[in-house]
Symmetry: C2
Subunit: 173 residues, 2 copies
DNA sequence: AAAGATTGAAGCTTCAATCTTC
DNA sequence: GAAGATTGAAGCTTCAATCTTT
């Protein structure tokens, strides 16, 4: 479609290497969390978000925007975690549509241990494997990829190329 | 535990950036595949493996080693894909325990389209976002991380530090 | 017994529908 | 009607158990 800057075999090798790395890293982190702390990565994400919150509690709405999941996923996940005693749910006074999710004391213990062990694991598999230069490149490269995916909220401004046709009425309403 | 080479806030920023990038890239690729070709990423992986095989067919066993999934995952996935007409299964003559999985003509059409569109997407979100230098660093960094996770099969050779005790017989067999 | 493969159950994820409160 | 949240169904993933052939 557009002019193609050739992607050759060596480039695809990088992609495959990158792809394999993501899979193995994910898997290694999952295994470690489950083995050391008895939780899954989804569990970890919920717990860490609550742990970092003001009173160890968040609205479901906030959980959604913090972690970036679908709302039903959060709902199902929290329901399961409540059964296991990691969190509790209760109604919100100020807005009776909403509900709070709060860390239990068990959940607090679990996340404290998990943070320590999980950090060690990330250090071992990620930071220790990379030089400072490599780390820096990965930081900027990650940001570039994210920008490439999200056409930027400034998208709108690009569409307004020939804006302001002098004194045209904006919607006669 | 061991002496800690400090992981500071800027390092964790890189981790979070990397983590977010992986999630968004995965999501973007899934969305594109589903929208353009009506298949999921698991579907794509099975189809591409079969497409690259000698007669567009593989034993389940080979599918497992090629893609690196759990055997039951492959089995369930293939069963679902067979229902949708993307692949067919039939018995293996030479080893009656085994079975073949083969691309249907529909499956072939689907994967041909998907490869084109999916490559374009990877180009747009991955290759176009990165400089040649960044790409090279990501390649070597990915390999390093994989090595850090898998203690290397060459592990054994490291244990053989003081090898070759003069005229030792190499396996009396 | 080991290898090749399937099955069923349970947890995870997404989608669409729903319900209540604002 | 829109926002906050839950529910149910369907597909995905893992684990353990099973079954057959070697």
């Amino acid at each position: 479609v557009t002019e193609v800057s050739r992607i050759g075999e060596s480039e695809w090798d990088v992609w495959r290497s990158f792809y394999a790395m993501r899979r193995r890293l994910d898997h290694a982190l999952e295994v470690q969390l489950q083995r050391d702390s008895g939780i899954s990565r989804p569990d970890f994400e919920i717990l860490i978000a609550l742990f970092n919150a003001p009173d160890r509690r968040l609205r479901v709405r906030e959980l959604i925007s913090t972690i970036g999941w679908e709302k039903s996923r959060v709902s199902h996940q929290v329901t399961r975690m409540e059964k296991r005693g990691l969190v509790t749910k209760f109604e919100c006074d100020s807005d009776r549509r909403g509900s709070w999710v709060e860390l239990t004391s068990t959940g607090r213990k679990v996340i404290l241990g998990a943070m320590r062990e999980h950090s060690d694991t990330i250090k071992r598999y990620f930071f220790d494997a990379l030089s400072p230069d490599e780390l820096a490149v990965i930081g900027t490269a990650s940001a570039s990829i994210i920008s490439a995916i999200e056409p930027t909220p400034c998208d709108a401004s690009l569409a307004l190329d020939n804006v302001e046709p002098a004194g045209s009425s904006t919607v006669a309403e």
